[in-house]
Symmetry: C2
């Protein structure tokens, strides 16, 4: 058993809206598992090796619950196009290139490293429909220290040139992929019907059965864009609402992630709450592709599970610092433009969504919960000018708004130190 | 006479919505003044020293037309407070510290360097009410290579603790400041009544007379927030609209900058157009402090002069890369929430606002206009993954969305090389 002590200024969000600040405190790890957080180091750990981060902030690392790995090379491009045009003319060709394993290796290695450099250690991530590239993505994430779920995309209709499977291929390749997922320590498979228009009923039914038989989680998109919602209505005239196209095939339960939900009305939101579906709010993406501004605080107040995603490359940044402050801005915009929307998200609330709420999808307790493997980032902000002596809360807010990736000194993932920039 | 040739991939925005791309071209400077841009270098310049930037993008540097220098240390803090509370409890105490010249020197030196590192070479900038700190700000900007206008703030009412002048002090200190502004090569004074609630009628009248007598430009705030608009109405019951409180004292002409204008209705906008006032749109700040989302494209289509500002520290970033993409998002939000608003700003349009439209306030022609001193930044983006061979337009879009400050290899300001990171 290996014991290690971290010293620093610890801040986490144990509940929605609360911050726990522990300055000059000690966090003890045994084999990477958090034993506790103390103001004075207990005698029994006095002789253990220590990482002394001084006054630096030690924060839970981020959980990004929705992003498209093969869109990483096109990050920040094509933003003048609306969603469905952007998919057809831009995104699908970019994804089609991942038929080439060498290209996939090069791109995914870069992506995995950039994720860690941004302090994101947990992800739920769409790959493309390519099995080999999906396995390469899982290998590269694992090597870099990123944990979580990755999904080979299923799409047997309405795809792009060189980016569509037959139903049979989709099933066969998904089975082949699942058979090869056993070898990863920190990455697990998640079933990933791209969205309802991309999957035939037969494929949806097979995915629902497979989720149940193999006990697998599910991720997809829901009610992102009004044209898309209309399209789904035409494809499934038997379903009153978009969510029912997932529910009727067994793809709607408490291990389901649904990205966006911009246009989900009260009934659809109630269905999410009842089933325990997690909403992944992706504020920048929703504005970039002109989908709308999701009523994020309404969803939280109604008791839905809400986490955050960057949704690259609809989102234009891999950084969850951005996703947190953009969620705040999205809630402010709702407040400014929608009389029915409650107050905006505070810094503490939005940061909870980007950390503790995301962790929950992986079954982890909030913040630095005892008994969990450590996921953390260490931020050294001492060289910024001080208008007055700052509280830890002010330092946290500033780090989020200033997106201080460059100030990250160290990143811990699943109890392991995966990035160590040493002293400045 | 010193001649110098730059080689690279030049992109600029000669008009609203158009891009001019000149790959592998040559720009010739004589004493820092642009002579022209050629596909093949004219024979007469063949022997001149050359800066060969290879395939790198050479873009006009940014013009940031509204930001508060003394708020730099509080960048990214206090964002959970609404505008007027934020001013009273946060901003005014932060500004009051600039009574100390040593503190001012330290902060402003850092700020000036960060501006250049972000590729911003032209600014219109609020200082605090402190004359000495304002002169220090001008010195530090000049040393770093930032050009433009700086204003000592006038505020003889409704200030904060240790942050208010008497009318007499304000006039005397403004005169003292103006006398000492002659020594700068690239910085000039701009009269700066903070906003109508901060200035007595007597002070406003004196500022208007001084602007006329000394031929000085003017900057202030207009119709940022609904509570503020209401307050101005109470202070000036004789004025039908906010803008008239400036106009009646001679502070409303074609050398006037008005930040925000979120709540300016058609009549107020028509008054801006008629007088030639420039609107400074500050999209992030407007959302951060819950003021609203300005109808930016409506203003452009109505023929108003519109430029961009970061408005730190209401804005949370010094980078004009952010201001440009945030202006696009603001226009998308207006489109999504306001049926009367026209289409969103394209990348080319928003970038025009952040470069050529800003340059115009300094009397400079758009983009790389012949006869102007060169203001440029050089961006090396070759190490990013390529989904396909990119056009210069795509590279520009990506640089803007990815806010590639770290990719800036060189910055030119007023014809001089002010940042040179050399080869990678």
């Amino acid at each position: 058993m290996e014991t290690c002590v971290l010293k620093g200024c610890f801040v986490d969000a144990p509940t929605f809206g609360s911050l726990r600040v522990r300055e000059g405190s000690f966090l003890v790890l045994v084999d990477g598992v958090i034993q506790g957080l103390w103001d004075r180091l207990p005698e029994e750990y006095a002789a253990c090796p220590m990482k002394d981060y001084g006054e630096a902030l030690v924060l839970p690392s981020f959980a990004d619950l929705h992003l498209h790995a093969p869109q990483y090379p096109m990050l920040g491009m094509g933003m003048d196009l609306p969603l469905l045009d952007w998919l057809g003319t831009y995104t699908f060709p970019a994804e089609a290139r991942f038929a080439d394993p060498d290209y996939a290796r090069e791109v995914y290695r870069k992506l995995a490293r950039e994720l860690i450099a941004c302090g994101t250690t947990r992800v739920c991530r769409f790959s493309s429909l390519h099995t080999d590239a999906t396995l390469i993505l899982m290998e590269e994430l694992e090597k870099a220290g990123v944990t979580g779920y990755v999904g080979k995309v299923n799409m047997d209709r309405n795809g792009g040139v060189n980016l569509q499977e037959t139903t049979e291929e989709s099933i066969r390749e998904t089975e082949r992929w699942l058979e090869r997922c056993g070898g990863f320590a920190h990455l697990r498979p998640i079933l990933t019907p791209r969205f309802t228009p991309s999957c035939t009923n037969e494929l949806m039914a097979w995915l629902g059965r497979t989720a149940a038989e193999r006990n697998l989680p599910i991720q997809s998109h829901l009610s992102e864009n009004d044209r898309e919602v209309q399209w789904v209505r035409e494809l499934h005239p038997d379903c009153g609402q978009y969510w029912e196209t997932y529910a009727k095939y067994g793809l709607w339960n408490d291990r389901t992630l649904m990205a966006h939900c911009v246009w989900s009305d009260q009934r659809e939101r109630a269905a999410m709450k009842e089933a325990g579906v997690t909403v992944v709010h992706c504020p920048d993406s929703n504005v970039n592709v002109c989908s709308g501004v999701a009523p994020v605080r309404t969803m939280v107040e109604e008791g839905l599970k809400v986490a955050l995603g960057t949704d690259i490359a609809g989102g234009d940044h891999l950084s969850m610092f951005d996703a947190v402050t953009s969620a705040i801005r999205a809630s402010k915009i709702r407040q400014l433009t929608d009389p029915a929307h409650p107050a905006f998200l505070t810094v503490a609330e939005a940061w909870y969504l980007g950390t503790s709420a995301g962790q929950a999808f992986f079954g982890a307790g909030p913040g630095f919960a005892v008994g969990e493997k450590l996921h953390a980032l260490v931020l050294e902000d001492s060289d910024l000018p001080q208008p007055h002596p700052l509280t830890a809360r002010e330092r946290l807010e500033r780090c989020l708004y200033r997106r201080q990736e460059e100030a990250i000194r160290a990143v811990w993932s699943e109890g392991r130190l995966v990035l160590d920039r040493g002293e400045k």
